[in-house]
Symmetry: C2
Subunit: 219 residues, 2 copies
DNA sequence: AAACAAGTTGACCAAGCGGTCAATTTCTTT
DNA sequence: AAAGAAATTGACCGCTTGGTCAACTTGTTT
């Protein structure tokens, strides 16, 4: 339509807003990750973002609204991982892929994971709808698929819901409790190899735990 | 010596102090569990303990000192569970017992678990010594035992340290992220049966994950 | 019952909090 | 280049915070 007439115009309208909002959201995620909503202060976030405090209020209103914006962004990220689990999938490949995706999240977005953990620890006051509607239905849907695999004898009999709890716990622990892992492993940070090894350990453990012999890795 | 002369005396000296400190510690654990050190307020804790705020300061000094007292009490509790894992133990029984003890902790002391989780999420500023010295050495000691079991062919080959990370994660998730579990399971709280079932699921999963056939349950 | 220690608590304080606002600068549009 | 919209920010405000204290009550010892 008019994008050839004014390419700079439509691209630049709200450009500053978008950039600053992203910048603030990123800083807020880091700060909320450490101390949660109640513990974080707007000054901390402002300093982390390199902007005056009044600027955050200009873009996001209140601390609660900024927090909700952070949570919303995280949920959008969260909801993508499960979707490779289909009835006709090979359980080994599907589960391994799911664990691998979750481990990648823990590595690439550890702050998101920690914000989520903080929110759950404080009773999830801003996530009740997500937990009771969205997450619950997704788990039920995926649980039916896993129940199908079980009844076909393709994996051990277990409660799929608990399997999800355990997989979430095992994968997110590498983001949420990274200090503990670094201390025990005696390293300053986990490098590529350490992450690949951790991912492998979790995948093997999960597959064996599901009664799947972790042989099929070749196409 | 003089304990028969004044039985009430020695028993009652500091009795009030002990009772009030315990009462405050219990309330503080609950409040710190929800929002961590930075998020909790002394007024909240005072209200939870049913005492005036000035009273908490009389017994514990500052908020940080109260927090450290809470952490110390938790660590004493924490450090007991591992000690049933000996080289000559049956791996199946030892691991099952360890998981069961951890699950019992999650049920009976969920607030302790959450205080710990909050502390780790904020980078464990008050636990670096514990993590880097105490915990690290315990893990190394127990890892040697597990490595022994592996080399004897009594369980699958895996990195014992990652096994610990996974077991801690799986068991503590039932305390730390209980909201999520209640939402997905669609219950207001987990009853005896639900906890027994969850414990069973985790134990079976861990044993299979370790390559142990979960047959031996009879004495 | 006298004397002292231990415990209680309302009132108070400086500091930091979330949030507002008006004055100003910078962008964008025409 | 004019004009209006968007963005910036130091100064400020009422309120809550962690913490103190002095006056007081309760418990313990002799």
């Amino acid at each position: 339509m008019n994008n050839s007439a004014s390419p700079r115009t439509t691209a630049s309208r709200g450009r500053i807003r978008r950039e600053n909002e992203a910048r603030i959201l990123e800083a807020a995620e880091r700060v909320f990750a450490e101390t949660g909503l109640a513990g974080a202060t707007m000054s901390q976030i402002a300093q982390a973002a390199g902007l005056p405090k009044a600027n955050l209020h200009y873009y996001f209103g209140t601390k609660e609204q900024l927090y909700q914006a952070v949570l919303t962004a995280i949920l959008e990220l969260w909801l993508d991982a499960t979707d490779a689990m289909l009835p006709e999938s090979d359980p080994a490949l599907a589960l391994a892929g799911y664990v691998r995706a979750k481990m990648r999240h823990s590595r690439t977005r550890p702050f998101a994971s920690r914000v989520f953990a903080n929110e759950l620890l404080s009773g999830a006051p801003y996530l009740t709808d997500y937990l009771e509607i969205d997450l619950k239905q997704r788990v039920e849907a995926k649980s039916r698929i896993i129940a199908g695999w079980i009844s076909e004898g393709r994996m051990a009999a277990l409660d799929p819901r608990h399997l999800f709890f355990m997989i979430w716990a095992m994968t997110q622990t590498y983001a949420d409790f990274a200090v503990q892992i670094r201390a025990v492993m005696n390293v300053e940070s986990l490098d590529d190899d350490a992450w690949e090894e951790a991912t492998g350990e979790v995948i093997s453990f999960v597959l064996r735990g599901c009664g799947i012999t972790p042989a099929a890795s070749a196409p």
